[in-house]
């Protein structure tokens, strides 16, 4: 078993041994409007594998370990540790992927977040929450190279129950602003552009999902997420639409969610020689698999 796969297996098993977890996620990418009750603590662990840029070899795993706490019945706070593992070779993307890189899980950044529930989906018939988060990053999650990043993200989550909660709809809309500065790299390929000037980036996220409880504890559904990145000089720089099925299992204390996400369409900047004309593969990949594990204290 190679080191990369060992990391995935070890982390999957680590997830099983965590003492306990967060507000139950029926989806892998879009979020619901519910929050933790006052005084409750939850933790969760999630892994995302991103793979296939249409050329060479590219595979990365993002790990997120999160602890949440319900301050009041409407307000929760959370802290996260993010890690990154990457394995890429035979793939150069000017300005973005400067060369081969391979390492196991390393700390990538930390994040602090808060979520406020305005309306409860079960009590008020329509749920609405807002989140805000601050993140500090040390590694570029696309190339695996070193960089400093400060990020602020805010989002609204809507949620509606149908059929007494057997069917759940979720809708999200959010905006993210980031300040990024890459570290210089020695021995870059000839003529390779690797800007180390500070950059500001703004991106938006719009997503929705539908999940149906087909058996006690089991939910099956689908979700879709559109992300767009904007820059001062070019306006809309890149965009992508991912969609896929999601499977959720919840027990009294544990829950798990598995989502397969495939990029359906994308646009904007492309790398030289990119074969897939209608995908965004500069920073995104064709496929993502995400597993989330939760345990309630």
């Amino acid at each position: 078993m190679n080191p990369f796969r060992q990391s995935a297996l070890a982390l999957a098993m680590l997830g099983l041994s965590l003492p306990a977890l967060a507000d139950e996620n029926l989806f892998g990418y879009v979020r619901g409007a519910e929050v933790l009750p006052r005084g409750q603590v939850e933790a969760y662990q999630w892994f995302t594998q991103r793979s296939d840029k249409g050329a060479g070899k590219y595979r990365a795993i993002d790990s997120k370990t999160e602890v949440e706490y319900g301050v009041t019945d409407r307000f929760q706070v959370s802290a996260e540790l993010n890690m990154l593992s990457i394995d890429t070779s035979d793939l150069l993307i000017d300005g973005y992927l400067p060369g081969d890189k391979k390492y196991g899980l390393r700390p990538q950044g930390i994040e602090l977040a808060a979520k406020y529930n305005f309306l409860s989906p079960a009590k008020d018939d329509f749920g609405l929450s807002g989140t805000a988060s601050l993140e500090y990053g040390m590694l570029d999650v696309h190339s695996g190279q070193k960089k400093t990043e400060y990020e602020f993200e805010t989002q609204l989550q809507a949620q509606k129950f149908f059929l007494e909660g057997q069917l759940t709809w979720v809708g999200n809309i959010g905006v993210r602003a980031a300040y990024e500065k890459r570290k210089a790299i020695a021995n870059l390929p000839n003529g390779f552009e690797w800007s180390t000037d500070p950059e500001m980036e703004i991106s938006t996220k719009i997503g929705t999902g539908l999940s149906y409880r087909f058996a006690p504890g089991w939910y099956g559904g689908a979700e879709v997420l559109r992300e767009a990145e904007y820059e001062t000089e070019v306006g809309l720089e890149r965009w992508s639409v991912f969609a896929g099925p999601t499977l959720h299992y919840g027990d009294k204390q544990w829950w798990a969610t598995l989502t397969y996400f495939r990029q359906l369409r994308g646009g904007g900047e492309k790398y030289a020689g990119q074969a897939d004309e209608h995908l965004h593969l500069i920073e995104k990949t064709k496929n993502e698999i995400r597993v989330k594990l939760g345990y309630n204290f």
Binding site: R5, M13, E24, K53, K57, D73, E164, G250, V291, L293
Partner: protein, 182 residues
């Protein structure tokens, strides 16, 4: 790019392990709940109701929520041939599992009491507490059945509270339509 066919299996491992850890939590049997809700009764006569689609639609129209099943377990509680009320066992949707509860209705259609038989959710175990269940006593179809007004909400278990409350209202509708003149 090369991709291992084993990648998916790694991600499925935790879910498979979790699914195998499912458990149930049954607190009362039907017989125990019958004694708690009708301590004076000597006989419980099975009077299970079976609904056709039209009847289920009538229940939904009056109660505002679905009558999910075509069969409703009902017992006639009696003492020396005198009707004391109706004992009904029902299931409503919880976050993960069904919540099984029993309800006692008086002959004139008000709630005598509610007992929780099974509750398996992460939060909201307080639905089993007498201090929460007492809010149903005396309720009739004249009440609004609004969460946090008629019945208090339990944080973290809002869906469970809402569905039990709506279930109680639905059973009062069932009583009015099919049992009140029985």
């Amino acid at each position: 790019m090369t991709r291992s066919p084993h990648d998916w299996r790694l991600f499925l491992l935790p879910m498979a392990a979790l699914a195998s850890s499912a458990h149930a939590a049954d607190y009362l049997t039907v017989a125990q709940a019958q004694v708690l809700l009708f301590p004076a009764a000597k006989d419980f006569a099975d009077q299970t109701l079976k609904f056709d689609d039209a009847q289920r639609n009538r229940i939904k129209a009056a109660a505002g929520v679905r009558q999910r099943t075509a069969e409703q377990k009902v017992w006639r509680a009696e003492r020396d041939g005198q009707l004391l009320g109706w004992f009904i066992v029902d299931e409503v949707i919880g976050k993960h599992e069904f919540i099984t509860y029993a309800m006692a209705i008086s002959p004139d259609g008000h709630v005598l009491g509610v007992e929780i038989l099974s509750y398996r959710e992460t939060h909201g175990g307080q639905v089993r507490d007498a201090s929460w269940r007492k809010h149903f006593a005396g309720k009739t179809l004249a009440d609004r059945f609004k969460l946090d007004e008629d019945v208090p909400n339990i944080s973290g278990a809002t869906l469970s509270c809402r569905n039990v409350m709506d279930g109680v209202k639905r059973l009062l509708v069932v009583h009015k339509l099919f049992l009140a003149k029985a």
